[in-house]
Symmetry: C2
Subunit: 238 residues, 2 copies
């Protein structure tokens, strides 16, 4: 069955977490964002009145009649099917918990440049953004990355992966999170990663995986920019 | 097996979503927050160095050796065991998606009074809170409640419950969300609920369930107040 991934075109956003899992597994999928009229297709689908389970927001995945929204729920579903999860229930739940924690960081990273609301431009909430970004840099990035470092160190099957002895979608997502933080907050993130060597090594390990490397080098990956979730504004990472 | 629920004492917070599922099912559980030294127990457990899968934050659930954090992951797990989910995979995923969307609203509700960060008092971020709350009241509460109304209307098994023909943890969580919004933003929420009669009816339906009603009347439920996630500040709902 061909998967269809629906997300906005032109930004990595939350869709990229799903895309990395599909790419790493070599899955057969259609990326709606890559179509010339991708955004129109996405909106038309969401507005279908015969849709029994309409997503609240993208990204969402279609597989036949099944429509799944919410990044972590999509990855929970795909992880089992793409060999990017564990068959052990405790490990499977652990991967999901980690993913949900990554989702929390992603939400906070977004709110550094949009602390008031997504309906306003960054420039219209810049003074608030300066305050929120300071809190994110000084307290949240260290706290989160230290937790990822700790759980890697405590993995009974070695510190190469977050869950068990092989890569799961949670590792792919942590790679993406670190990439995003390095883009948006390079000074802060580099300095925190010095104290989180396992996280830094995991990032390299994931980037070197065959299909991930091929994808990163393919030109198909959207670049980070100031339209997405991870935005670099120099004043927010002085 | 007795469940142990770990959460901060004195506030409903995210722990209440788990508590409602345990109460509705009549589950055998120990509520650590109800112990006189609950917070110390919680912190001592989180700091255990032999913990292979340390939670990032409360709430978390223990069942024997299993430790699960993240409210939506806990409910995904408990839903299957407490008869508060569906055996149908599409419905089970749908309940989880809805729960994750409720978690998004909860995060946004929190950020109305803490738009800069949880490390500062409300009074120290009040001007930002006024702006963020306006956005939440005018755009987000209506958008979310209209979505819940729409998915109830589209449920092929009737509009009494969110998923299938019986109550799931998602219904209990929507009840709690609406209670919280009515406490924090009474004017806005009441006016939006007029246009979301199915959501309003679901709230009444859940409140009337035997064990939920008994719990609400038991005196064991912590009251909403200005320490938790849903806080009422008159200036934020003018």
């Amino acid at each position: 069955m061909t998967y269809k991934l629906y997300y906005w075109s032109g930004i990595q956003g939350r869709g990229e977490f799903v895309r990395l899992a599909l790419e790493d597994a070599g899955a057969d999928y259609i990326d709606i964002a890559a179509a010339p009229d991708g955004d129109e297709k996405l909106m038309a689908f969401m507005e279908r009145r015969d849709l029994l389970r309409p997503p609240f927001a993208p990204p969402f995945l279609r597989e036949g009649d099944l429509v799944i929204a919410q990044t972590a729920a999509i990855l929970l579903y795909l992880g089992d099917r793409l060999g990017l999860s564990s068959r052990d229930e405790a490990e499977r739940l652990w991967a999901h918990q980690i993913q949900l924690t990554i989702a929390d960081v992603v939400g906070e990273a977004h709110d550094t440049h949009h602390p008031i609301g997504a309906h306003l431009y960054y420039e219209d909430q810049k003074s608030e953004a300066l305050r929120r970004a300071e809190h994110f840099r000084e307290l949240r990035i260290p706290k989160y990355l230290e937790w990822f470092e700790r759980i890697l160190a405590r993995n009974s099957k070695g510190d190469a992966y977050l869950v068990g002895g092989a890569a799961t979608y949670a590792d792919l997502s942590l790679f993406q999170l670190v990439e995003g933080l390095l883009y948006a907050f390079p000074k802060t993130t580099q300095s925190v990663l010095v104290k989180a060597p396992r996280v830094a090594a995991l990032r390299e390990r994931i980037a070197a995986r065959g299909r991930i490397r091929a994808y990163l080098e393919s030109g198909r990956r959207t670049e980070f920019d100031e339209q997405g979730i991870f935005r670099h504004y120099a004043e927010l990472d002085p």
